[in-house]
Symmetry: C2
């Protein structure tokens, strides 16, 4: 299949949405949870979380101007804290259901069967069922005028990974064992298995395959 | 494992880099290819490509201030066109090797054994070995002053998926069949397999599981 600019523009609407949402490759599947200043909790699924830097730990995500995502945005603006929680195979149903357009005064936690959990005094709720979780404070919101989306950047201020065997000695995170999901397009939930870890690439030498450390298996 | 802000800051450097790079979840693995106005070609691997919108098709990625990525940036600024190409299991070695710091006057295509391919008059090279490919024109570069990275946004102007069975009737893209890779952290290449497609979520009904269309299997 080979499409130029005009042929892409002429794709049927549904086909275009599915294809363009999938064409960037596998996406992470995360629940972003917030609490507004009145104590109202919110949780919604996002597939646009992206690593921006390690020191400090900065993470971005894309907000679309939709109902489900607008509550998340308003809560982050008001309360400044939020959490990002991996979705694993056991909570696909609940996570996907958070994308429905619930009214503003309804918590998706109650409606979907996910459980808010407060850890270590962090001000936003974590998702108790999630196995890899981080707490963030918003640093910057960038308006992307090209299509009316917003790019929200936060700094990681809390990390919660209850199963310590997921974190290997030198920091490798075993997301296969965590059963974290990878998404295709809008709705294709995949599990992933390790093919190989590759050593740091240099000009003069071919890369080696790294063995997974025993403490993490 | 439970770390607060100070404990995160105090992590050993290598452990912090691996952990923070992995904590956002699975990442897409893409080769970004460019050609500068002198005809010099460049290709480098990126795991930060993110979907921004479908109509028009807008895609972002994060550029770090490193040698391997700076050539890509300068070429995009000068030539405006670039391509994003999925990495599959058969080209992990070549893709990972593009992250080595080759000199400016050396093409990573020649050094890594990847092949540039020009399609349909599009001005940037595609990676011939890749199975899911798109051509873009840069729309905007956003400086992220928090850590000196840049967020590059382009519009999709060309799509090339040689194996038509990868694209299902309504646009679902079979990335399991394409063997597209999902990355953990800096170096953990994973293959993915479909668990379930879930129907559009609504407030009143539980989501259904969608069957993959037969034409794509």
């Amino acid at each position: 299949m080979n499409l130029n600019r005009n042929q892409i523009a002429d794709l049927p609407k549904t086909k275009k949405i599915h294809l363009i949402n999938a064409i960037t490759g596998f996406k992470p599947v995360n629940l972003i949870a917030t609490r507004n200043t009145n104590g109202m909790e919110n949780v919604a699924v996002f597939s646009s979380v992206v690593h921006l830097g390690s020191n400090p730990g900065l993470v971005g995500f894309v907000l679309r101007p939709t109902t489900a995502q607008r509550d998340t945005y308003e809560n982050i603006l008001n309360a400044t804290y939020y959490t990002i929680n991996h979705v694993h195979e056991g909570i696909i149903e609940q996570a996907h259901q958070t994308s429905a357009s619930y009214p503003k005064d309804v918590s998706e936690f109650g409606k979907t069967g996910l459980t808010p959990e407060y850890i270590d005094g962090f001000q936003a709720p974590f998702v108790q069922e999630s196995r890899v979780r981080m707490g963030l404070r918003v640093q910057k919101v960038i308006d992307i005028e090209l299509n009316g989306t917003k790019f929200v950047i936060g700094q990681i201020e809390q990390i919660s990974i209850p199963d310590t065997t997921l974190v290997h000695e030198h920091g490798y995170l075993n997301l296969e064992k965590a059963e974290s999901m990878a998404l295709v397009g809008l709705d294709g939930y995949h599990k992933a298995s390790l093919v190989a870890r590759k050593s740091y690439a240099t000009v003069d030498q071919p890369t080696r395959t790294i063995k997974l450390e025993d403490n993490g298996k």
